[in-house]
């Protein structure tokens, strides 16, 4: 099995789906000739032509709006938002149109749309190129939010998103693109949206995370294992709707839960995860539910020391995990 990077897994998933289904097409800023600013769509225009790999104007509401129209017409668009930070002009299209189309039309219409957006910081991208925006969408029934952390999951979940008959927001942590590599089969496989995944079995503490911070937790867990502390790590993979069953199971397993994400702490996905645990696991809890997340400040700073302060890293995660283990 080939070891490939996260971004190559994303490209592979799109290429396979475009070959499999002529209704699948890609649109977004610089996705064509340039192959995407992160090179996620590299090679697609050469293989599928400019009618299926469409360079759009700098207008996110139009990218998503056009995609919704095409989806309603029976196509399966993959709309790329160049940076998740730029998704704001398209929020009305996503929340009020795409997410509600099936419900509003009493099942007459649906919207098989995938919106890909690179999110997260740690790449010296400052405030317009580093945001985590998932929490803005995670109370919108009708919408699914997927945020894989490994190349294997990225391929399987992106293919599932493209085949899904309802809109899926697909967030890719941009620092994972080239940092994270892993084995990805050439086969045509899909992974279920809505299912979390245990990335490491353990007995002392439970860590629940997604995206880049999941890898920090895995690294910290290695270090803690040498100290005799065993961490159980759950990758949410789908952020909305959450896999409540898996969350409850993972939390109950150790009774000590640490939720980690790069997004701001207050109002983040972690609050919802903590609420699920509080509702269902009171009598299994052995410690207060802890959250480790980005600080509640308006944006990722440009200054390197301040960016470092904002970003989590394996050391910060290690400290938090260790503290909980010794509680």
């Amino acid at each position: 099995m080939a070891v490939i990077s996260f971004i190559d897994a994303v490209t592979m998933a799109m290429r396979e789906e475009m070959r499999r289904d002529p209704n699948v097409f890609v649109l977004g800023e610089d996705v064509g000739v340039r192959g995407g600013v992160f090179r996620a769509t590299a090679g697609l225009i050469e293989e599928f032509g400019e009618e299926r790999v469409i360079d759009t104007p700098l207008a996110e509401s139009a990218i998503v709006g056009v995609a919704i129209g095409a989806a309603a017409y029976g196509m399966r668009p993959i709309a790329e938002i160049q940076f998740a930070d730029f998704i704001m002009p398209a929020v009305n299209q996503i929340v009020s149109e795409a997410a509600k189309m099936r419900y509003r039309s009493n099942n007459d219409w649906h919207c098989p749309l995938t919106i890909r957006a690179p999110f997260g910081g740690g790449v010296h991208g400052a405030l317009y190129h580093s945001q985590s925006v998932e929490a803005m969408f995670n109370s919108t029934p009708g919408l699914k939010i997927v945020a894989p952390s490994t190349p294997y999951d990225a391929k399987g979940l992106l293919k599932a998103a493209i085949r899904d008959n309802d809109p899926v927001l697909f967030f890719e942590h941009k620092r994972c693109y080239r940092l994270i590599k892993g084995e990805v089969p050439e086969d045509d496989y899909v992974l279920p949206i809505g299912k979390a995944d245990v990335k490491r079995e353990g007995t002392d503490i439970t860590v629940i995370s997604y995206g880049l911070t999941l890898h920090f937790a895995l690294q910290a867990a290695e270090k803690l294992a040498q100290e005799g502390i065993s961490a159980h790590i759950l990758d949410l993979r789908t952020l909305y709707p959450l896999d409540k069953e898996a969350i409850v199971e993972a939390a109950s397993k150790t009774g000590k839960v640490l939720i980690i994400h790069e997004d701001n702490k207050e109002g983040g996905i972690g609050g919802e995860v903590a609420a699920i645990i509080a509702e269902h696991c009171l009598f299994d809890l052995d410690a207060p539910i802890k959250r480790l997340a980005g600080p509640d400040i308006p944006a990722m700073p440009y200054s390197p020391p301040l960016e470092k302060f904002f970003m989590l890293n394996p050391d910060k995660v290690y400290e938090a995990m260790r503290e909980l283990a010794y509680f």
Partner: protein, 435 residues
């Protein structure tokens, strides 16, 4: 002072780079911003500029090697540095920020504080649940958490090691093996110090029944009553031959007319209520610096179910006829057994009548239903030979037992009260009004 040059970040999303060619070698003198190496990434090819001026002392990464952004690739001895002539190794050691922080800090895990910290007595929900399910006295569990806190793992380990089932074997028992079965049963109970009195060993095969909330309430209230109210006890015997005859005479007719069983209890309650009106001190409560004599006469009656005892209340029993009492008793008993009592049904009692005779008792010493001042138990009616007018006769006799709060009541008034009840019961006959 050696400065470490790190692999720079050459573009967003780039996380590693390959040194394609070194442009300097160890010993070279470089100026700030001079190119040190050529680096290629999957996005760009670039040169790595020097961050300081000085002499190259070490090249860490070989040509062709791919390393992560932030990796130390070479060291430069800054010009004019005070430590310039110190051998390279020593400088390295001094400069390097001890690369093994984990080993140094990690094992600082708080000692399993036997000297119980503040957290020792604070238990998490998981710990409480496990302790309850396995009947564990948490005081016996060694805590290994922060400040000696007992963790879920500690309890699980305790259970695994059989802690929930038995005390560590007593030394005497071990040294007298032939007496093992006796020793096992014997030693635990008597000499245990007060707080450890719940360290009761559970032998294999014993059944551990979790305490239900209602059992817990009963236990707490009984202990409280026995502890707070000095109980005194007295008893009279009553000849209820006439009552028995009267009741037997009318009970079927009553049942047919009213649809309610006419038991003996309403007659007893009626007599008690009338006597309470004469001796209201028995219908009172000890309140520390005062005694509160209750105006309302609300009679608590004890109703037993298989596993618990409830004391629903007949409100304003003094305003009810025997018929009214019979109906109220039947209603409360039915609702108790159906588990449909309301909080209101259970509150406000001022005196308790306990029908212990219903299960055959002829003598009982009831515990006062606090904060009431007394409780009367009606024992079984039995036929006995008794002396009447200097002749032996077979009469239906019943014992009435009274437990009283001696803070409130003395023997004299209670004796008078019981005599009054006795007299009323013995005077029941065909003229007694049911309605």
């Amino acid at each position: 002072m050696a400065t470490k040059v790190l692999m720079p970040q050459l573009g967003e999303s780039v996380t590693e780079g390959t040194i394609t060619r070194w442009l300097v070698k160890v010993g070279d003198t470089v100026n700030k911003y001079d190119p040190l190496a050529e680096v290629s990434t999957d996005k760009v090819n670039a040169e790595v500029p020097s961050t300081v001026s000085g002499r190259v002392t070490e090249i860490v990464v070989a040509e062709g090697e791919t390393v992560a952004v932030g990796t130390h690739i070479l060291s430069i001895e800054e010009s004019g540095s005070a430590a310039a002539d110190v051998p390279a190794e020593a400088k390295e050691a001094a400069a390097a920020p001890a690369p093994a922080p984990a080993a140094a800090q990690a094992p600082a895990a708080p000692a399993p504080a036997a000297a119980a910290g503040a957290a020792k007595q604070r238990y998490s929900p998981a710990v409480m649940r496990l302790a309850q399910e396995h009947g564990i006295d948490l005081a016996r569990v060694q805590g290994t958490g922060a400040e000696g806190r007992v963790t879920r793992k500690d309890v699980l380990k305790f259970i695994e090691q059989g802690g929930a089932q038995a005390e560590p074997v007593q030394p005497q028992a071990a040294s007298v093996p032939q007496a093992a079965s006796v020793a096992q049963a014997a030693p635990a109970a008597p000499s245990a110090p007060a707080p450890a009195s719940f360290d009761i060993p559970v032998a294999a095969g014993d059944q551990v029944i979790p305490v239900t909330p209602v059992r817990k309430t009963i236990a707490a209230r009984m202990v409280q009553s026995k502890h707070e109210a000095p109980h005194a006890w007295t008893m009279v015997e009553v000849d209820v031959t006439n009552l028995v005859n009267f009741r037997n005479q009318i009970k079927d007719e009553f049942k047919r007319k009213e649809g309610v069983n006419l038991t003996f209890l309403p007659f007893f309650i009626k007599a008690v209520v009338e006597a309470l009106k004469e001796y209201p001190m028995l219908n009172s409560t000890w309140a520390g610096d005062k005694i509160i004599v209750k105006k309302n006469v609300n009679i608590s009656i004890a109703v037993a179910t298989e596993d618990a005892l409830y004391v629903p209340v007949i409100k304003d029993a003094d305003q009810k006829s025997i018929y009214g009492l019979a109906k109220a008793i039947e209603d409360l008993a039915a609702r108790t057994r159906a588990g449909k009592l309301t909080v209101d049904d259970m509150s406000g009692g001022t005196f308790t009548v306990n029908n212990t005779g219903s299960f055959g008792s002829v003598l009982s010493m009831p515990i006062i239903n606090a904060p009431q001042a007394a409780i009367l138990s009606v024992e079984a009616i039995v036929k006995r030979p008794v002396v009447v007018n200097d002749m032996i006769a077979i009469r239906s006799m019943v014992n009435l037992c009274l437990s009283l709060d001696h803070r409130v009541l003395d023997g004299l008034i209670c004796g008078r009260f019981l005599q009054s009840v006795k007299q009323k019961l013995e005077n029941i006959g065909p003229e007694t009004k049911i309605y």
